[in-house]
């Protein structure tokens, strides 16, 4: 019984990673950049929702919407100011810029909101699910997060597969010069990618803080890294990979903590990642593109 309960905890943690990882993988897959600031956009999203709910007294759905809107705009602005000028620069330069943006957001939040912890009110009003006569509990947050995850995953896959904008994204991710020759507005496509990724970040932030209700300017950073690992674990760029990677990572982390060592759970999680990548160099779902010689 306790195993199942750990498993549920793992899924619950994993679903939060997964939802963050979806945004990561989306931006990586299309814009081909490691957006290290993604975790901090999550933090911004959480603060916006927090302020909306607690300081402005807005209803929860409107607060979430506001958070999504602010993050979407933020994502597009960040892309336009910090990443767009470096579209054809070295990947490393973009990576460093992303890190700069991450520091910027963290310190901006520190200035505005202060370092004090804020306790986030859960936006989830779904009742916890009680199984096996109360021995197993699945919190409302978990249920909602997993559902949101699945919906977003399917939505994203369908969007990329069937929509014209989705096709444009694929083309841009391959070769943006050639994409322009197809009549694709590369800047707009990448903006759209960031808009979607950041909107997801807002949702992820709200759900993250609903499940783990403590909010500081650094809230997004570690879950961001873990989700990033999850995305790689599943095969970065792959949307179902992000989902599976996130859930698995959560489960591994919890089981390692429960059965091996709670001190070393991070080491174990990261070791599993290394082993997986050594065996499958492009992650669980990533496809290996062979270079034609």
């Amino acid at each position: 019984m306790s195993f199942i309960s750990y498993l549920l905890n793992g899924i619950s943690l994993g679903s939060v990673y997964a939802i963050i990882a979806l945004g990561y993988t989306m931006v990586y897959g299309i814009a081909k950049m490691l957006n290290f600031a993604h975790g901090d956009v999550i933090m911004v999203g959480s603060y916006v929702a927090f302020v909306a709910i607690n300081n402005m007294g807005l209803p929860i759905p409107i607060s979430i919407l506001l958070s999504v809107i602010v993050c979407t705009v933020l994502g597009v602005v960040i892309e336009g100011i910090a990443y767009r000028p470096l579209r054809h620069a070295s990947k490393l330069a973009v990576l460093i810029t992303a890190i700069g943006v991450s520091y910027f957001l963290q310190n901006m939040a520190l200035l505005i909101f202060g370092a004090n912890t804020k306790s986030f009110t859960s936006v989830v009003q779904v009742k916890p699910l009680s199984l096996a006569g109360g021995q197993l509990n699945i919190s409302g947050e978990t249920i909602v997060t997993i559902l949101a995850c699945v919906v977003i995953m399917i939505g994203l896959m369908a969007f990329i597969k069937y929509s014209k904008a989705g096709h444009a994204m694929l083309a841009v991710s391959e070769d943006d010069g050639a994409a322009r020759l197809m009549g694709i507005n590369v800047n707009r496509t990448i903006s759209l990618t960031f808009a979607i990724g950041s909107a997801l970040a807002a949702i992820a932030g709200v759900l993250l803080c609903s499940a783990y209700p403590s909010l500081t300017p650094y809230t997004g950073s570690m879950p961001g890294i873990k989700a990033f690992v999850a995305a790689v674990f599943g095969g970065i760029g792959s949307i179902p990979g992000a989902f599976i990677g996130g859930i698995l990572l959560g489960i591994i982390e919890i089981l390692a903590r429960a059965y091996i060592s709670s001190q070393l759970s991070d080491a174990i999680v990261f070791s599993v990642l290394i082993i997986v990548l050594v065996v499958r160099p492009t992650g669980l779902m990533g496809k290996e593109i062979q270079e034609k010689v």
């Binding site: 000028p85 310190n107 200035l111 790689v232 001190q263």
Partner: protein, 354 residues
């Protein structure tokens, strides 16, 4: 032949800058009134310069992105600090103790480099970056869980808690989990730091401008072509990676011996540090050894110089990062620079290598 002397001259300029800086600082310290802040920064500057130079070997020369450089630094720091803490009495001369500590740190970090490198260097691009990041986090996590004690019966080791060491009452706790190593003598000084930096530069610059360096750069530029002319990819990748790791270990030794208390926090040995080092490399010019050294020095001093700005300091640091990247890399900025630079004519010559 002319080219040989050119690279040699380039290296000499680099050594010259370091030596001049050293002599200048020494004179300033003795006869001028160098601020305490500056004096305190001298050893850290060497540490970060060594880190930047060593990471440049992986990132700039080998062309692989590593986000776990701090992990190797951590290995070097803890291995050597453990040694120094245990040997404080046995070896009374600090410099001798320090030299042995450096060797130990370098070897341990180098071995880690090989161990990580073998499985990992098969991975490409960003995957390698993630795995190195993971490695760095593993090291940090492990170090935080190590308990090591020394008493008359020898070493006691545990991964759980200090209580499990079962030590005699007069035993000495060497590594106390998250509390790390405290009370080890700080054996390093600016002169030793500069010597280590010079040795690092010597190794890296000579390596780059040799048969081995060419092979490594060939792998960076085109792996398939490098294979086709008979270059053993794995061997050279691991060689570059582990040398880079070993030198990061050396920096770790210097870092550890500049402090009396050594803990592995996200701040000093986590991915944040790895990223800070990467920033030095990228800002200084990927592949430019001298550049990364200089940018390490400037970027380490920058936040200290900005102290008067208080809480705006890190914000400004962030803006500086973004602005620097955009100004050095955006095509528009490059074009403007090229067009209006007074060096316009000189730049034309850049068509030739070096």
């Amino acid at each position: 032949m002319k080219k040989m002397s050119k690279t040699a001259r380039n290296s000499l300029i680099t050594y010259g800058i370091v030596i001049l800086a050293y002599v200048g600082c020494e004179i300033w310290m003795r006869f001028g009134n160098m601020s305490s802040l500056m004096e305190g920064l001298l050893v850290p500057l060497c540490v970060y310069a060594i880190l930047a130079v060593s990471l440049n070997l992986t990132v700039g020369i080998l062309g692989e992105l590593s986000l776990g450089h701090a992990g190797f630094m951590c290995v070097g720091a803890f291995a050597s600090a453990t040694f120094t803490k245990c040997m404080e009495q046995a070896i009374p001369i600090p410099t001798v103790r320090f030299i042995i500590a450096v060797l130990i740190g370098v070897i341990c970090a180098g071995i880690c480099g090989i161990l990580v490198g073998i499985p990992v260097l098969r991975l490409r691009g960003d995957y390698l970056a993630i795995v190195t990041l993971a490695f760095g986090e593993i090291i940090k996590n492990l170090v935080n869980a190590i308990y090591l004690g020394l008493d008359s019966k020898g070493f006691h080791f545990s991964m759980k808690s200090m209580l499990e060491l079962n030590m005699e009452a007069d035993g000495m706790v060497v590594i106390n989990g998250a509390q790390g190593i405290t009370g080890a003598p700080s054996d390093s000084n600016f002169t030793l730091g500069i010597i280590m930096l010079l040795i690092t530069l010597f190794i890296v610059l000579n390596l780059i401008n040799s048969r081995t360096g060419r092979a490594i750069m060939a792998i960076r530029d085109n792996r398939i072509a490098a294979e086709s002319i008979g270059i053993n990819i794995t061997k050279y990748k691991i060689m570059a990676f582990s040398i880079s790791a070993a030198m990061a270990g050396a920096a770790g030794v210097l870092y550890a011996h500049n402090l009396t208390t050594l803990t592995a926090l996200p701040k000093n040995f986590g991915y944040n540090m790895s990223i800070t080092i990467l920033v030095f490399v990228v800002l200084g010019g990927i592949g430019s050894i001298r550049g990364s050294m200089i940018s390490a020095v400037i970027l380490t001093m920058l936040p200290e110089m900005l102290r008067s700005l208080d809480e705006y300091r890190m914000l400004i640091y962030a803006i500086v990062l973004i602005a620097a990247m955009i100004l050095t890399w955006s095509p528009k900025a490059i074009e403007l620079r090229e067009r209006y630079s007074p060096m316009k004519l000189l730049r034309r010559k850049e068509k030739e290598v070096q």
